[in-house]
């Protein structure tokens, strides 16, 4: 069996509080190739964010391992950079400083000060945010904050980019715009991406494969759907594309027929 770039092997997660133990994840197995764009979709509370946090190293799995590029993941690090749902920029730093904080720390020894400055600007340029370098997060819109968050994550040159519902807090128009940007950047940089989402269209449009999770407790991977659509993808032409709609249908039927959430009104 050839080793994949990112391997999640037999990962289970239990949370214990007092005498109560809840089994959140059970036997998660996933292999991701270099340059692949993977979405994880599932109902809220199914533990998809927990999977991401385990890969990020922010949580320790109760059992099982995550192996990235031949090394076991034990703690958080810049090779697995995160884009958080609520951007989590530091509000007392400007747009430039937020990215520079990461760049200056990670490339302290490998790049000169001028190179780091250059690199910070280049990443902000990639997300079209150079017009607001000296603004603080409170002074820019939600979509712009998320752009800066993406720039910060990209600037770390991660082996895998982890997106935790990156567009969840945005309005539909901004979301579509940012999805297009992410597709454009992805076509340039060929990053390995793992994205958590609960948006079916987003998953089909962006992903190479969609990982569908069953409902918790003891959630696991239900089905994996390969999205065989040519890139670059265009949301308007795809809207009438039968293959695209077929994929959409498959995800929808998994979520709303096979894994229908009974306790949600």
């Amino acid at each position: 069996m050839a080793a994949s770039y990112l391997q999640i092997e037999q990962v289970s997660m239990d949370f214990t509080r007092g005498d109560l133990t809840s089994h959140v994840l059970q036997n998660i197995n996933l292999k991701i190739d270099k340059g692949e764009y993977i979405s994880i979709i599932g109902h809220s509370g199914c533990g998809k964010s927990t999977v991401l946090n385990i890969v990020a190293g922010l949580l320790r799995a109760t059992s099982g391992v995550v192996i990235l590029d031949g090394k076991e993941v034990n703690d958080p690090g810049p090779d697995r950079s995160l884009v958080f749902q609520n951007h989590s920029l530091l509000p007392w730093l400007t747009v430039y400083e937020n990215v520079a904080l990461a760049v200056n720390k990670i490339f302290k020894h490998s790049k000169s000060a001028a190179e780091r400055h250059e690199w910070t600007l280049r990443n902000l340029e990639m997300v079209n945010m150079t017009h607001a370098l000296n603004k603080r997060p409170a002074e820019i819109s939600g979509g712009m904050k998320q752009r800066v968050g993406i720039a910060r994550a990209l600037s770390m040159e991660p082996k895998v980019l982890l997106l935790d519902e990156p567009f969840g807090a945005l309005d539909a128009l901004t979301r579509a715009h940012l999805q297009d940007e992410v597709m454009r950047i992805q076509s340039e940089l060929k990053n390995t991406v793992m994205m958590i989402t609960h948006d079916v269209d987003e998953a089909v449009l962006l992903s190479d494969r969609i990982v569908m999770m069953t409902n918790g407790p003891s959630a696991t991977i239900g089905e994996i759907l390969k999205i065989d659509l040519p890139r670059p993808r265009d949301r308007i032409t795809l809207a009438d594309d039968p293959t695209y709609n077929h994929y959409r249908h498959q995800v929808l039927s998994f979520l709303y027929e096979k894994q229908r959430k009974v306790d949600v009104a």
């Binding site: 922010l58 958080p76 690090g77 989590s88 509000p91 007392w92 770390m156």
Partner: protein, 294 residues
Amino acid sequence: MNSRANITSVPAEPLVIKPRVADFKKPLVGILKKWKTFLISRFLPPLIVMTILVGVWELTCSRPDASLPSASAMLEQSWELIVNPFYDNGGNDVGMAWQILASLERVAYGYLIAVVVGVSLGVLIGQSTWALRGLDPVFQVLRTVPPLAWLPLSLAGFQDSHPSAIFVIFITAIWPIIINTSVGVRNIPEDYRNVARVIRLNGLEYFRQVMLPSAAPYIFSGLRIGVGLSWLAIVAAEMLIGGVGIGFFIWDAWNSSLISDIILALIYVGVVGFILDRMVAFIGNRVTRGTSAG
């Protein structure tokens, strides 16, 4: 495309210029008007209230059997002190400014030590649950001890009045600083911690780049309460330890039955306390600008 741009730009030009000429006079008049309304709305109400208060004071204390001096009598009796704040006849016989400065010096020492120790301990019990469990009960009991109750003990310990007064200020100001700092550190959003963990900030970097700015609004509200309390405590402490200082000045004036000097000293104490509070608030606003906004 080009012709279209030209059509729109031509009529736009005069539209921009016209209001500019008319606007020229407007700002001057506008600024004056703004200042006038600002002065009237901000300074008139306190002025009226002050006049009424002084009037009532004057009326109630002007009767021959009044035990306190009236406003005019106070001005007359303490006139020397009011006009000469900087005289120095040696010993305790110095102007009001020197008395206040002596008190401020003690407060400055005690308060600064309290800031350093308080923020450090606050960070410790904010970071470590073990330290919180161990130290919090001690703090909760000690912080209820009134400032002056510490004075005899510190006199016994230091064998000298000067460090004792500083210690009383320190022990008074430190509790709100510790408690607020620890709450601020505990309330650092999980996301900021995660960002720091992903880019692997070390302890010192995390402290400087994330913890201090994030907790700064809490820390500064503790610092503000602390400075107010230390100014409250210094007057009482100085009454007991003697020497130069506004507290002993008040006590001395009482022993010499110079009631008007006491009133003058109280005004000084109030104004200085107000300034101290505003200074810390001002620094806090400058430092935490943008911190609390999400």
